[in-house]
């Protein structure tokens, strides 16, 4: 056993209102630069829908993530080492910019400089890449709230496995929002596909980063990530990705997307896992067993043997304490209501989701049931194939039983709390059905519904053993370099004060060329 700590996230999808605050604050923080116009480290998709980039979940096409070869060994779906090197000159699995969208800006000068005229002047959309007139035909969030769903959503790869056809008429469909960031996987396909060894997983907290100084622009990570969460910066020629806001995490603060989330639905905390068990867990043959196998990799921080091993393996004592209080640990391992996104990609993703009950409740209401009556809801969960199969395709590699079980728990919690607060009774049958104690049920309710700030985020600050050296850094911030926030090998506030200068020859050139 080798104990490692991972900063992980859980999102409670029932609460996401699709406001995109997270995406916008993230973009303002990390990707509001030339070269990353089309990049959204955090994006929010409407499901069903084909997502961003288009149909990224279709791994037959994009060949991201891992598969088992004939001998049952893990290999990158995009091909082994030799094949990767042979596709350096042209990567057949790389999405093109049109699979994301053409970023645009507007010709604002027209508004300011237009002469007086009878009609109000209008501004035209211009391609942010070429500066030429362009028509806006797609975007990172084109399908917002099922807009255009009748036309596009049938292309959602998750619908392929469903036994009943989903109808996209207004009264008969269902939808929810799916916010996505990089999963900071335990078995990251991006890191494994990087020929330069520029990508790495941090030993201390598991955050996956791109060393901007070592990246050589081979763009293998972009295609290897099944979630398409590494992006090519077309100005610097380097890969960039979600950083889990590591400067904030190191200071004990939540990520920007989580901090600003209007629905307060994101949870951040530590999980402890056995690093030696990861490969075996993601190699189990039946995809339906992957969820359980991945759960089994997590260790219980309350177990004295685990605690002793953790200290031995260099996990600091205060981190161990934080792992015990971690909301993520509770939601995944104790209440078992959080599920990974597409475990069948075999990357062991570390952003998990509490599946939404709302599509079921909507269905109960439209079929004239009572969404507040647990029995009606239970029946619906048992009988509805849509949307249960759909959720199973997202979160459990198709196992509807697991999804139904989680939804039952959520429905029971509603029923239990309703009985307690409205009728003043204790619904023992619901406790028995979920196998939870009254105290557990109420604690889960508190975590999900009250969701206090310091219960949602239990983030131990990083250990900086040498504070003097930190102070010696002065006020300089290496995030200020041209072309990119410092996702370098050195973390930004501990950049050694050597006298290397950054000389982005090409960036300067590119600027020049644009003038």
């Amino acid at each position: 056993m080798r104990v490692m700590a991972q900063v992980a996230m859980v999102m409670n999808l029932d609460k996401c209102i699709g406001c995109h605050t997270c995406s916008v604050t993230c973009k303002q923080t990390w990707t509001n630069r030339e070269g990353t116009e089309y990049v959204w480290f955090n994006n929010v998709e409407t499901k069903p829908g084909i997502g961003y980039p288009k149909r990224y979940e279709d791994q037959e096409r994009w060949r991201g993530g891992w598969v088992l070869d004939r001998r049952g060994k893990l290999k990158l779906r995009g091909g082994g080492r030799v094949r990767r090197l042979l596709s350096l000159f042209a990567n057949p699995d790389l999405p093109s910019l049109d699979d994301y969208y053409e970023p645009i800006t507007y010709d604002y000068d027209t508004l300011l400089n237009a002469p007086a005229s009878e009609h109000t002047p209008v501004i035209r959309p211009k391609s942010a890449l070429t500066g030429e007139d362009t028509a806006i035909t797609w975007g990172a969030n084109w399908e917002d709230d099922l807009g255009g769903a009748a036309e596009h959503a049938p292309g959602d790869p998750n619908l392929a496995a469903m036994t009943e056809k989903v109808k996209f008429e207004y009264e008969r469909t269902f939808m929810f929002h799916l916010p996505r960031i990089c999963e900071h996987c335990l078995n990251p396909a991006c890191v494994s596909a990087c020929p330069s060894g520029a990508m790495y997983k941090r030993e201390e907290d598991g955050i996956v980063l791109v060393d901007q100084d070592r990246c050589r622009g081979w763009r293998m990570c972009v295609s290897a990530c099944p979630y398409k969460k590494v992006y090519a910066n077309h100005v610097t020629g380097k890969a960039e990705k979600c950083t889990f806001c590591f400067p904030r995490i190191e200071a004990g603060q939540p990520t920007v997307c989580a901090e600003t989330c209007v629905g307060r639905l994101r949870y951040i905390g530590l999980v402890l896992y056995d690093a030696d068990a990861v490969t075996a867990a993601v190699s189990v043959p039946d995809p339906a067993d992957l969820l359980e196998a991945q759960r089994a990799v997590f260790l219980d921080p309350h177990d004295p043997a685990v605690a002793a091993a953790a200290l031995e393996d260099g996990v600091p004592a205060d981190w161990l304490e934080a792992a015990r209080r971690s909301p993520v640990h509770k939601l995944i391992s104790e209440y078992r209501i959080a599920l990974p996104l597409h475990p069948e990609y075999r990357t062991a993703p570390m952003v998990w989701y509490i599946p939404p009950l709302s599509p079921v409740l909507d269905a109960v209401s439209t079929s004239e049931g009572d969404a507040n009556d647990p029995d009606d809801v239970f029946h619906a969960i048992r009988d509805l194939r849509i949307p249960i199969e759909y959720l199973a395709s997202l979160f459990t590699a198709g196992d509807t039983e697991v999804v139904a079980g989680v939804l039952m728990k959520l429905a029971s919690m509603r029923g239990y709390m309703r009985a307690r607060t409205v009728d003043g009774t204790v619904a023992d049958d619901l406790l028995a059905a979920t196998g939870m104690s009254a105290a557990q049920m109420e604690a889960m309710y508190r975590l999900l519904a009250i969701a206090k700030y310091d219960e949602r985020y239990v983030i131990p600050a990083a250990h900086r053993e040498d504070a003097a050296a930190l102070a010696a850094q002065g006020a300089g911030c290496s995030l200020d370099v041209e072309g990119g926030p410092g996702m370098g090998g050195e973390d930004f506030h501990v950049l050694p004060t050597d006298n290397r200068i950054r000389l982005p020859l090409h960036v300067a050139d590119a600027k020049e060329a644009r003038r």
Partner: protein, 229 residues
């Protein structure tokens, strides 16, 4: 004049090449990249880039054979002049076709595709221009002189002079009567060496061979001041 062209210029170019690389490596890791534009345009690149790169590999192998291996060595192992000529012209022509088609496609997308055109920097333009000249002259020499024309045995002159550069006793006289295309090809190649470290060509030195044997997942510790990494 001969000394200037065939001694001073080559050494100057090679010095810039070496010093330039050392300097760039030290100060500009962030700019050291292929600067791929596949994201912006992939249809032309899909054919152009592999063709060009394979053509370059073939050309490099051919040059290594023709320039570095003395004629006496191949004669010792029984390769006649006729056989050598046939092989070099045959393989050279194949490489030339790949290079011309590949570079043509890559150049065309730089002009035709607005997105790629806008990201093309002045350095890129210089690089493309020099590359085109070097390749055009090389192809003319191989196809024009040696395939269609009478043929020229560069191994008696150019190769000897070239090896002399590395033995620090280059003989400029050897180059004096070499046909003009070969002379210009050699000079333009040294121009390419001189601009190399300042262009995206530096990505050549980062060919990620080590990927073949390193473990898949890379772990690194967070940098902490005062602790060596």
């Amino acid at each position: 004049m001969n000394t200037l062209l065939w001694v001073v210029l080559p050494y100057a170019a090679l010095t810039v090449f070496a010093v330039g690389h050392a300097w760039r490596w030290r100060v500009d890791q962030f700019g050291w990249t292929t600067r791929t534009t596949q994201l912006l345009e992939h249809r032309w690149l899909r054919w152009g880039s592999p063709l060009f790169h394979l053509g370059v590999f073939a050309a490099i192998a051919g040059h290594a054979l023709g320039l570095l291996v003395p004629k006496s060595w191949t004669e010792v192992i029984g390769v006649s002049e006729g056989l050598y000529h046939a092989v070099s012209v045959g393989a050279g022509t194949a490489a030339a076709v790949m290079l011309v088609v590949g570079l043509g496609l890559l150049l065309a997308r730089r002009f035709v595709n607005g997105r790629v055109r806008r990201t093309t920097t002045p350095t890129d333009k210089l690089l493309f221009a020099v590359l085109t000249v070097v390749i055009a002259l090389g192809v003319t020499a191989t196809v024009g002189e040696n395939l269609i024309g009478a043929g020229y045995d560069y191994r008696e002159t150019i190769s000897v002079w070239f090896r002399g550069l590395f033995r620090l006793q280059p003989d400029p006289v050897l180059m004096a009567d070499v046909p003009l295309v070969f002379q210009l090809h050699a000079l333009s190649a040294f121009a390419l060496f001189a601009i190399w470290p300042f262009t995206r060509l530096v990505h050549v030195w980062s060919a990620p061979i080590a990927y073949l044997w390193r473990p898949y997942v890379v772990y690194r510790r967070r940098a902490t001041p005062g602790r060596p990494r």
